[in-house]
């Protein structure tokens, strides 16, 4: 293969009623589940980062307190930022795999068996949005 017409590049569905999908109970559950996770979690992470930056800027003495040997609060809090970033990443992936993917797969399968997105139904020309 190798030209635009054959590579199943675009599957622009003009015949799918996205409005109806958007208002379906399944999709609203998916959207709610997604937003209820990403907004609060991201908000908390950004606040935690902001707190760290403000501490580094304005709480010099606190940050300079040694904890283990010469390792001080600043270094521990910096490493804690790395650890929380890794932890939130792992948490989100597990959440997405468990909660989001089954919901979105269900909606996608439903729409694609109606003829959308399958190679046969993929439009034959490069459609520009």
């Amino acid at each position: 293969m190798g030209n635009d017409a054959l590579s199943a590049e675009t599957a622009t569905a003009t015949d799918v009623d996205y409005r109806a999908v958007q208002e379906s109970a399944e999709f609203r559950t998916l959207r709610r589940t997604h937003r209820r996770f990403v907004f609060p979690v991201l908000g908390a992470c950004l606040l935690w980062y902001l707190a760290y930056v403000l501490l580094a800027g304005y709480a010099h003495d606190f940050m300079s307190t040694p904890v283990f040997g010469s390792i001080n609060v600043a270094i521990l809090l910096g490493l804690a930022q790395v650890v929380t970033t890794f932890a939130v990443t792992t948490w989100y992936v597990s959440f997405a795999n468990r909660k989001l993917d089954p919901l979105s797969e269900e909606i996608r399968d439903e729409l694609e068996t109606d003829g959308l997105g399958t190679p046969a139904a993929a439009s034959q020309v490069e459609v520009n949005r």
Partner: protein, 538 residues
């Protein structure tokens, strides 16, 4: 120590060994690029590597794209000289990826095709929004590119012992020409492989040096810190504040930088474009996860390497070496493993510049060819093959501009350009990305006000800031010319909220309503992946 002080006067190590190792890197990657690029026929092949990379491969390439020479040489040097404040950068650069993971990567992969403008113009008016998004893309790429190319000149003096302007110009030209060759032949596939190989080498090299430094200090990080304090003679290097604690303005400036770093990453066009090289949104998610782990581990390495350079080389020797703080990592490599390790680390540093400029160039070329030429000029109906042809020509033009700009900026103080690129991305791109994905009511007018307002405010504030005029360390290098009426060196704290506000204001004052059908389509597609671009089959 003694041998090093003598060596530091000129270039340490063997320039020819450095060149040979870098030559080997170029030869190996060239072969891979040639092999990988045989299927480059369609726009999807050229811009998005046929969407055929796995999450792990793309995540490594993202790390290779993101960990620029500024991250590696710059942060190690900053920690070695200004201590803890250097580490603050690393944290911002890392935490930023949560924005990409949670808000942007998957939704963008599901709704876009090749460029950031695809997503932003999905449900708004095509022409004006595409032009605006392409403009901000080109501006961000240009600033970032110029900083990398100018940095290449500085690296040359340090690593190859080329001190004169002509020799440095020659090396910048060679780097630029190699980059053009990779991108022209290899397209996104070739670029991706260069970035993957470079990421593996960089992280492995930094990892070996980290273990080595820790081994010298009995695997006790606290001992390493004690030694760093003893050699530098300044216990304050363990505490925040050497650089950003000197005044109230410096503190606000750092807050402003932190905001730009954390909100800019997920809106950098060359990072966004990488999400299109994988077949599904799930692979896009995996890419970010890989990238976060690799980048996070690398930044922990830089903490050890920075204090290691302070302990084993010493801040004075680093500051006196050609290249200043940027020489900390190479000098540490020399101290640990002699000329051979220095040669390896130098070659990796060059590979870093090459991989990053290649990623920026293909992004800028794709944006021009896809958004401006194919979508705006040809109204979405370019002749068969014309778009890729235009993209390839654009690559050559951008490459030549980058070489000329790099030579012109060589020796200039342009380190602020990377921070500016992040600030522009966070101001001009992020608000519109977030609004168009999550705010139903958002309109074209809001998008244009936010993008142009964010772009203009970030650049104007920088133009009237201390980094451009007012002191001997500013770009104009003179105290006589002083129009620095904006006190901060980082515009983010003003321009980011302003751009969010303008996006809101432009929308609520707009009486037109955007197509509700398009909004429904975008929302459904972004979350479910229905109708998303599939991998092309070869």
């Amino acid at each position: 120590m003694r041998s090093l002080e003598a060596a530091a006067v000129t270039s340490p190590g063997e320039p020819w060994l450095n060149i040979a190792i870098f030559g080997a890197f170029v030869a190996i990657t060239m072969i891979i690029v040639f092999r990988a690029s045989r299927n480059n026929k369609t726009a999807a092949d050229y811009y998005a590597a046929g969407r055929s990379f796995t999450g792990g491969q793309n995540g490594s390439a993202i790390a290779g794209d993101y960990l620029s020479a500024a991250s590696f040489l710059g942060i190690v040097g900053a920690i070695a000289i200004t201590g803890y404040d250097g580490f603050l950068y690393s944290i911002g650069f890392l935490v930023a990826w949560l924005v990409a993971l949670l808000l942007v990567a998957e939704l963008l992969r599901n709704t876009g095709k090749f460029t950031m403008a695809d997503v932003l113009s999905f449900r708004l008016k095509q022409r004006p929004v595409r032009i605006a998004a392409a403009t901000t893309t080109l501006v961000v790429c240009f600033f970032y590119l110029l900083a990398q190319m100018a940095g290449a000149g500085g690296l040359v003096s340090l690593l190859l012992g080329v001190g004169d302007q002509l020799g440095q110009a020659l090396v910048i030209t060679v780097v630029g020409a190699l980059m053009i060759l990779y991108v022209l032949i290899g397209g996104m596939k070739g670029t991706t492989w260069v970035q993957i190989i470079k990421a593996v080498l960089l992280i492995a090299g930094a990892g070996v040096m980290t273990v080595w430094v820790l081994a010298i200090n009995g695997f006790n990080f606290s001992t390493l810190l004690d030694n760093a304090v003893a050699i530098s003679g300044n216990p304050e290097i363990l505490n925040p504040g050497i650089k950003y604690g000197v005044s109230d303005v410096a503190k606000v400036d750092f807050l402003s930088l932190g905001l730009a770093l954390v909100l800019g990453t997920a809106a950098l066009p060359h990072v966004l474009m990488r999400f299109y090289t994988v077949p599904t949104a799930k692979e896009a998610r995996k890419s970010v996860v890989w990238a976060i782990w690799l980048i996070g581990i690398f930044y922990v390495f830089t903490l050890v390497l920075g204090y290691g350079a302070a302990a084993l080389v010493g801040p004075e020797a680093i500051a006196a070496a050609p290249g200043g703080p940027n020489s900390a990592a190479p000098l540490l490599a020399f101290e640990l493993g002699g000329p051979l390790l220095l040669g390896l680390i130098s070659a990796i540093a060059f590979a870093t510049i090459l991989a990053v400029v290649a990623g920026l160039t293909i992004t800028a070329a794709a944006s021009f060819a896809h958004d401006i030429y194919a979508s705006v000029v040809k109204k979405g109906k370019p002749a068969a093959g014309a778009e890729v042809k235009v993209a390839r020509r654009t690559v050559v033009i951008i490459g030549v501009v980058a070489i000329i700009g790099g030579i012109g900026a060589n020796g200039q103080n342009v380190a602020f350009l990377v921070a500016l690129a992040f600030a522009v991305a966070a101001s001009a791109n992020l608000p519109t990305i977030v609004y168009s994905l999550f705010w139903k009511r958002f309109t074209t007018q809001g998008a244009l006000w936010s993008m142009y307002g964010g772009l203009a405010s970030a650049i104007l504030l920088i133009a009237f800031s201390p980094v451009v005029s007012g002191s001997v360390t500013s770009m104009l290098k003179s105290e006589e010319i002083n129009f620095a009426i904006f006190p901060l060196s980082n515009p983010g704290i003003v321009s980011i909220p302003l751009a969010f506000f303008l996006g809101w204001l432009g929308t609520v004052l707009d009486k037109t309503v955007e197509s509700p059908a398009k909004q429904s389509e975008m929302e459904v597609r972004s979350l479910t992946g229905v109708g998303a671009e599939k991998a092309s089959h070869h």
